[in-house]
Symmetry: C2
Subunit: 347 residues, 2 copies
DNA sequence: CTGAAAGCGCTTACAG
DNA sequence: CTGAAAGCGCTTACAG
């Protein structure tokens, strides 16, 4: 780290003319337990301060088998939703005396597997993972190996694993019901290609609500391939426009932003031409001429609980309220989903 | 990490009936150098694969004195600019076989000092830091201790330290000149309270250009306190409005977004009521009715070079092109800064 | 009250 | 070609 090497416990012991054990014991606050004299404690601490000693965590880790490191795999740290989550994870982990190793999988299986492997080899004490499509086996293996693990944002319902997620079904149920209540019938959803449960549940929340509203004939879900979101989004929006969709619900923040981009390109006005409902807060939603109605998830709570859970698994503490955390969605109603004027007698 | 402990090099050696040294040598690809038999190499590798061996990096680190970890201190990982930077740092570090420990200082000195200390104790091989106001001493100490260090986004010109930053003077010079060329005279700047060089240089780029354009009488710099940006921004905007400012230049992305929020609240139209020039790309800029002209910084290059530099310092490699990197700004001209109509004969 | 010794998992001179 | 030994910095039984 520096040219003159850091002072070690050995250096302190030598300087004081005592054994390294003594120094270690004192510095770990176990002086009383070992009945070390007050004076000795003072001398050791003074020397430590004077020689600017700080413990080598790598050695402590090797010895203790703990690294005080939590590995985090999100899909993309530069995605606002995940960077917000990451910030909360960082803060909560710091509070509990952990540091965080972040990495981005780009929603890709191989990356996810590689990153998990690296993090485990790095000696992280536990893992917080946003699992991607196809990562079920990788996650199952971690569980088999008893690696402390918490899934965030998504989970595998058939795996016995801790997770901290939104109530996704309820989220889109709220959103769809709001659109129905506002008088919209032709309500379409824009999703992306994935088998992950969070999206499947969001889709269910929509279809279920549509059926209950006797609007099953208008159920319409488009699935975008993430490799080329903008152009696929454009195609979808063109189609929705042709079929006179009245309201569109986007299932992620990224899809929402892309959707707004395309509508702007197409010179379609929100909400005159089409009502719009987005996912997760964004400055964009609030700064448009028609502030966008969106589903808000309490990501602070989700992230906090994820850290609590993983630390509980590592240390046996009980910071988390429960084995799993399912957060309540909230609908922030703004101007992009106004009451629809329905002319009497016509559809 | 797991209930049945991980297989170590010792387990492999025992299973194969050879020494641990042999196993270590083979696994590190030094078989040729030590002239180990082909067959032995195969046996060792097969066993390693079969027993699912992966090296304990903590032990390797202790032994080698390297952690393959780079510590990063940004002001806030959830700020889009820094999360973008962080993502590039992550990717480049991974390419060079490093992992990254991110942390957020919130522009606060004590946090910065604490985080740096923790990261150094964690045994990071090097540091990439966005320094905050007042952190000069902390940075100087790192340099004194020969900690491999690169500053990003800002630097201390009087310190002999590597850095990777934007050409801030040029950035605001470009921006101000553009506004002048478009016919604006009453051009105000919104900055925030700091002594950091990047902001001072941005201010200089503005004042310098104003002077050269003989507009010194219109030089006007407002400095917002970050503890309460929204309400202070509102006050500033009210004042600019009263004094009939024609164009406003915001010196960071956060200030730009806040500025747009306030103008919207005040029902002031861009660019009819006031022309607007922002800093760093944002979806918000592109999705407004009048897409916003902004200063674009090549953050990919800045982040890449920062990693190259710090790895060079750690390993003596030569990935970086130079000792310091000063990136070229680019002005993305959109609709928020149109040519101003100047009636002949009048000011 | 305090020290000598072992050991965490690894790598690297040093022998043979 | 291969093994025994030392040591990275630390902590913790074990002696005394």
């Amino acid at each position: 780290m520096s040219s003159e090497k850091r002072t070690s416990i050995k250096d302190l012991a030598a300087a004081l003319g005592v054994s390294t054990s003594l120094v270690s014991i004192v510095l770990n606050g176990k002086a009383k337990q070992y009945r070390i004299s007050e004076e000795m404690v003072k001398r050791v601490k003074a020397a430590a301060k004077e020689m600017n000693y700080s413990p080598n965590l790598v050695a402590q880790n090797l010895r203790g088998g703990k690294s005080q490191l939590i590995g985090v795999v999100v899909t993309d740290i530069s995605n606002p939703f995940y960077s917000s989550i990451s910030r909360i994870i960082e803060d909560r982990a710091n509070e509990l005396d952990y540091n965080v190793l972040f990495s981005s999988s780009d929603e890709n299986l191989e990356n996810t597997e590689r990153l998990i492997k690296v993090l485990v080899n790095k000696g992280v004490d536990g893992l917080i993972v946003v699992p991607c499509d196809g990562s079920r086996e990788a996650i199952a293996e971690l569980i088999d190996n008893d690696v402390p693990l918490v899934l965030v944002d998504r989970n595998f319902p058939d795996l016995k694993v801790k997770y901290s997620c939104l109530d996704n079904f309820k989220a889109t149920k709220l959103a769809t019901q709001h659109l129905v209540d506002q008088g919209y019938k032709k309500i379409s959803v824009i999703s992306y290609e994935t088998q992950m449960n969070h999206i499947l549940e969001r889709v269910s929340g929509y279809t279920d609500t549509m059926r209950k509203a006797r609007l099953e004939q208008h159920i319409d879900v488009s699935r975008i391939n993430l490799s080329n979101p903008r152009s696929e989004m454009r195609e979808v929006m063109e189609r929705l426009s042709k079929q006179n969709t009245e309201a569109v619900l986007c299932l992620t923040n990224m899809l929402s932003i892309n959707g707004i981009y395309c509508l702007k390109e197409m010179k379609k006005k929100i909400p005159e031409d089409i009502a719009f409902l987005g996912f997760n807060r964004s400055d964009v939603f609030n700064l448009l001429d028609y502030p966008v109605t969106y589903i808000k998830q309490p990501f602070e709570k989700i992230a906090n609980e994820a850290v609590n859970m993983v630390v509980d698994m590592i240390t046996g503490s009980t910071y988390a309220a429960d084995e799993v955390f399912v957060a309540e969605p909230e609908l922030v109603i703004q101007s992009s989903t106004p009451k629809k004027y329905v002319s009497a007698g016509y559809d």
